[in-house]
């Protein structure tokens, strides 16, 4: 074989190595999920969804866990979305090239890279202790809101940037002010993109465990939260609690709870992708 042939063989080999690399992660994920389904699927029934936690594995349920997650997600949504979207609008539409904008940009990119557990330490000190909220739903929601703020800001900016400048020009041409242009033209045109980012950020918040553990969310709560100042647990912490126990029955419970958590995560991600595709078609 001459050099050229050897090179072409190598080229073909790499192509298959590439296909293998692409599939290996997905195959492993499929094996994992398959395993979980086998372990946990038969454990899921109405009792599992509506029972309180218990020392006996076969009686334990995830009522407190999912209701805690729901409280956290709703509250986090209402705290983080207005702040995140407004900050995104400021940076994209108002921020002039200058020191402050530059600082804000570096800062947001840094915040996005801060490990989630550090946000937990922040929340523990600022919200739980100094603001005297205790380990409440409110403290947990504030902590997660700060955590997902960079995601929402970046997504908002990208969505605003994608709006064609002709829309802005037309609005200004008709005599609209800057804010009128943003409120009546740019925001509606970018809403699909912003929505996608918000849903992805919320999906991240649903799966977060570490910061809430640090804030003091409990592994065992015998009641569902009735208000924002109540103590709480969430689905991922319940899973963590069950995984950490040596008895096999509890790991079956964990698998069942993971199925529920994965359904929520994948559903949110699927909805986000759907909105993104729809929005991109509309824009172009």
């Amino acid at each position: 074989m001459n050099n050229g042939k050897i090179n072409r063989v190598k080229d073909t080999i790499f192509k298959y190595v590439g296909i293998l690399a692409c599939s290996i992660g997905l195959i492993l994920l499929a094996i994992f999920i398959g395993n979980i389904l086998i372990d946990g699927f038969s454990r899921i029934d109405l009792d599992f969804l509506t029972s309180l936690p218990s020392r006996k594995a076969e009686k334990a349920g995830i009522l407190t866990a999912w209701s805690g997650s729901l409280w956290i997600v709703v509250l986090t949504f209402f705290i983080s979305v207005p702040i995140g979207v407004c900050a995104g609008i400021y940076l994209e539409e108002y921020g002039k090239k200058g020191r402050l904008t530059n600082l804000l940009e570096i800062n947001i990119s840094n915040l996005a890279g801060v490990p989630s557990i550090i946000y937990g330490l922040l929340g523990l000190e600022i919200f739980v202790r100094l603001s005297k909220m205790g380990s409440s739903v409110l403290a947990g929601s504030f902590t997660l809101s700060l955590l997902i703020l960079p995601i929402i800001i970046v997504a908002t900016r990208e969505a605003l940037r994608a709006v064609p400048s002709s829309i802005r020009a037309a609005s200004y041409g008709l005599g609209a002010s800057k804010w009128q242009t943003i409120w009546y033209q740019v925001l509606p045109a970018s809403s699909g993109g912003i929505l996608t980012g918000v849903i992805l950020a919320i999906s991240r918040a649903v799966g977060e465990t570490a910061p809430l553990i640090v804030v003091g969310a409990l592994a065992y709560v015998p009641f569902t939260p009735k208000g924002i100042m109540d103590e709480f647990t969430v689905l991922p912490i319940q899973i963590f609690n069950w995984v950490s126990r040596p008895q096999h029955e509890f790991s079956i419970n964990a698998a069942a709870a993971i199925i529920i958590l994965l359904i929520i995560t994948f559903a949110l991600n699927g909805i986000a992708v759907y909105f993104r595709n729809k929005w991109q078609k509309k824009l172009s």
Binding site: N7, R8, K10, D11, F14, K15, V17, G18, A21, C22, G25, L29, I31, F32, N35, I36, D39, I83, C86, A87, I89, Y94, G95, L103, L104, I106, I108, S109, N110, G113, V114, P115, I117, I118, G120, L121, L122, E125, I126, R129, L149, I153, S177, W179, S203, G207, T209, A210, I213, V214, A219, P236, F240, V243, S251, A254, I258, L261, L262, T265
Partner: protein
Amino acid sequence: MKKYKEKLIEFFLKLTALVTILTTIGIIWVLLSESISFFKEVSILEFITDKQWTPLFARKHFGIMPLISGTILTTIIALCVSLPIGLTIAIYLSEYAHIKIKKTIKPLLEILAAVPTVVYGFFALMVVTPFLQNIIPGLAGFNSLSAGIVMGIMIIPFISSLSEDALSSVPRSLRDASYGMGATRLQTSFKVMVPAASSGIVVSVILAFSRAIGETMIVAIAAGQQPRLTLNPLVPVETITAYIVQVSLGDVAHGSLEYKTIFAAGITLFVFTFILNNISYWIRKKFREEYE
């Protein structure tokens, strides 16, 4: 009147943007203030040089090294898994795959990053460790090997997506020139495209590194809770993040030395990730305009 309203809105929007600055100040202030009061009781020298970390025992040692070694060990194992696979995927998608395949595979791979980390922890403990114990007889029930491998799978999309973006943004002309010289796709990939996209690829690796250092639930579940100064991947270790979780789950009184240790551990973690994130930000800024 209208102008006044416009100014007011702009001011309000500016305030919301400043929340992000406040967050950073808050993080640094919280970590510093608690750590400073920690270092009033424990000397920095002991913190850095002592080879044991036993703040929760009767005989207390405050050497951060075992936690750092546990963190670095799991991170390196994760990178050994994700770097070759992620880069191969990036090159395959940008140089070999049809555009339609690329558009399907990329979002599929990003599912890996969307799965909650507590789920990966379950995989590592319940699936990967028992499997590896069949192959490696001496493997402990908690170990950094399976935690690292699973973490590596999780960060594959960080490396593959960002590196693929970097490869795709290299101008076509470079690729065409290489093909014109009779080079194969493989030669073009490794001798032209990868060097040309190197800054973007380096950024992706640094970000994956930083992500792995800060990852918590996988190591807290599967790597164990025994701080140990070792590079042996088969025994239980404890990472900085896992230690913070361990203390948070227990009943530690506020103001006690044990309480302050999690902030001392936290600031160590924060310094590491802060440096890595800034290096990557700097590389991105510096090399962005290279081909424009």
